[in-house]
């Protein structure tokens, strides 16, 4: 039998429907692959018993002709989603051995449709990071080989300090690495400033951040509530659409979840894009952008043009202010959301001489450096005397950023094409001595989309000279993910997929 882990979600679904293999066999193949890939550190918790039990139940439903849309499909879950009875940590020491007594809405919808859980995936601590290096479980290794590295050299590094191997992006680095390394057929992820799209770009996978409000945030560990949105990472555009159809939908338990019908996003694949107007924003041509990214961007526009789309230049004048405004709004919301980690109700508790000391010691030991710094920045910008100068001003600028997009869409543009990241994946520990702003610049093309609440799809557009994947981003109108899937499918058809050969 062929290696079942190499299949796409769509191919696996066909194979299951055609009885070429069972859901149990499909789950087992992935569990074996996960065990053999432990050194990549993509999974922080494997749930083989649960996977096999769910697969068995899926086989029974398949046999009865009661299959859901994802029946028997094995997936990985970012460790930010609460899973009932299964440890959920946000990759932070402060959650310790937290075992939720409830299930997140998004994952419960995936199980409703027959998906099978393989385990929990690594991520940057509380989703704060762009390289998965802030995780309390340590970094994740990108299955894509660094430029000019042999498999032998990579194996040696993997057994050692991992330096020089590539990061999988962040914060959903476990999700992107697991999909790229064929350790699941798709993964859940979350995106606050680029945490789905940047990891997808770094690993040659496909990821979509849906419109704010599309997916319920209930049961997902909160980072910045006005920006957080769940979405899938998968091997292909169609696979992504299939997962998103299950993940989306109104949830009365999240007051910001939008009550509107969820289309079958897969139906958008193959729809003609002839006559669509695609905007190319001049402000994304940033200083110091590598020529390869510029070439990729042009290639992406050519592919859409070849499919009949009209390419026009547009302007989003406040683009450069999105990242600095984000680094006020996101930490401010984080400082409030993370106040709940107090050493009293759940997670880590470090004893203190009084209650304040208990809080301070618990939070000092429980949070990593990046998280502490963001909480402190957030506390500062919200504090008396600084609120107007920082937070209020940032929220006004957010209004201007959103208006930029509204103006472009009002002029008849259907979607916007940009590079997903300003560079290909970098090496583990390469940014260790850089100041935090250097790491933040990874999100320069993605963060605007969160600030405006829009949907954004990242997918491989090609590779650089060394063979590393480079991602393109399509930004859509609110709730028009379908156009993004149609356009994405057109690019995918011409650019092809980027896959990692197994070396680990």
């Amino acid at each position: 039998m062929t290696d079942l882990t190499q299949l796409t979600l769509t191919e696996a679904r066909k194979g299951l429907a055609g009885k070429q293999f069972t859901a149990v066999e499909l789950a087992e193949a992935h569990l074996v692959a996960i065990e053999a890939a432990r050194a990549l550190n993509a999974y922080v918790l494997e749930t083989p018993d649960q996977a096999l039990a769910m697969a068995k139940a899926a086989d029974a439903r398949l046999a009865r002709g009661e299959a859901g849309r994802l029946e028997g499909i094995p997936i990985g879950v970012k460790d930010l989603f609460a899973t009932e009875g299964v440890r959920t940590t946000a990759s932070s020491r402060i959650l310790g051995n937290f075992v939720p007594t409830y299930e997140s809405t998004v994952t419960s919808q995936l199980w409703r449709d027959g998906a099978v859980m393989l385990g929990k995936l690594n991520n940057d601590e509380f989703a704060m990071g762009s390289s998965n290096e802030t995780s309390a479980f340590g970094p994740v290794v990108n299955p894509i080989l660094p430029a000019n590295w042999s498999a032998e050299k990579a194996r040696a590094a993997l057994a050692g300090d991992k330096k020089g191997l590539l990061v999988p992006g962040g914060s959903s680095g476990g999700s992107s690495a697991a999909v790229a390394a064929h350790l699941c057929l798709g993964a859940t992820a979350t995106d606050t400033g680029g945490s789905i799209r940047q990891p997808a770009a770094f690993t040659g996978t496909v990821g979509i951040k849906p419109t704010y409000g599309r997916c319920s945030r209930w049961g997902i560990v909160a980072f910045a509530s006005s920006l957080d949105q769940a979405g899938p990472i998968a091997k292909t555009v169609r696979d992504c659409a299939a997962l998103m159809t299950s993940m989306a939908g109104h949830d009365p338990k999240d007051s910001t979840s939008v009550d509107r019908p969820v289309p079958d996003f897969e139906a958008a694949i193959g729809r003609s894009v002839a006559g669509k107007t695609i905007g190319i924003p001049k402000e994304y041509r940033v200083e110091g952008m590598p020529a390869e990214i510029e070439a990729l961007w042009k290639k992406g526009a050519d592919m859409l043009r070849a499919a009949g789309a009209r390419i026009v230049d547009v302007s989003l004048p406040h683009t450069k202010y999105a990242l600095p405004a984000y680094y006020i709004v996101a930490p401010a919301e984080a400082s409030s959301n993370l106040a709940r980690y107090d050493g009293v109700r759940y997670g880590l508790r470090v004893p203190g001489k009084d209650i304040t000391d208990l809080y301070e010691q618990t939070r000092a030991q429980g949070f990593g450096r990046e998280v502490k710094r963001r909480i402190m920045i957030g506390t500062y910008v919200l504090s008396a005397g600084y609120y107007d100068a920082y937070y209020l001003r940032a929220q006004k600028i957010r209004t201007l950023i959103k208006k930029d997009f509204e103006d472009v869409y009002a002029s008849g543009v259907d979607a916007i094409l940009t590079p997903a990241t300003p560079s290909a994946a970098f090496g583990i520990a390469e940014m260790a001595d850089a100041d935090p702003v250097q790491m933040y610049l990874n999100d320069i093309f993605t963060v605007t989309v969160n600030m405006a609440g829009l949907p954004g799809l990242a997918l491989p557009g090609g590779t650089d000279a060394a063979g590393l994947p480079l991602g393109l981003q399509l930004i859509g109108r609110p709730f028009d993910e379908e156009t993004l899937f149609s356009l994405g499918a057109v690019i995918e058809e011409q650019a092809g997929r980027v896959t990692a050969a197994r070396w680990w």
Partner: protein, 95 residues
């Protein structure tokens, strides 16, 4: 705008994060790097611009004013580091 060491200590206190004295200079430098980065927001003319309160224009829904949850103290305290009879235990707060 930049912060001095005393301000860093004060923010740490407000954040309820113990910050050892030797970590203050590094944290101060990092916070100042970020404050330096966001300073460019001062260039933007925001006169008459409404601050964003909701990225998706929608009215928050009201639900019926009825009890929908509860009677699960065991579940609520299940993950508490210290609890007794469904109460969270904390160090003595009132003398």
């Amino acid at each position: 705008m930049s912060v001095d060491a005393a301000t860093v200590r004060r923010i740490a206190r407000l954040s309820r994060i113990a910050l050892p004295e030797q970590d203050v200079p590094v944290m101060q430098a990092e916070i100042n790097a970020i404050l330096g980065f966001v300073e460019q927001l001062g260039e933007v003319n925001v006169d008459g611009v409404e601050p964003m309160t909701s990225v998706t224009p929608m009215a928050l829904k009201m639900r019926d004013d009825v009890v929908t949850d509860g009677e699960k103290a065991g579940k609520v305290t299940a993950n508490a580091p210290q609890s007794e009879d469904h109460y969270f235990l904390v160090p003595k707060v009132v003398e």
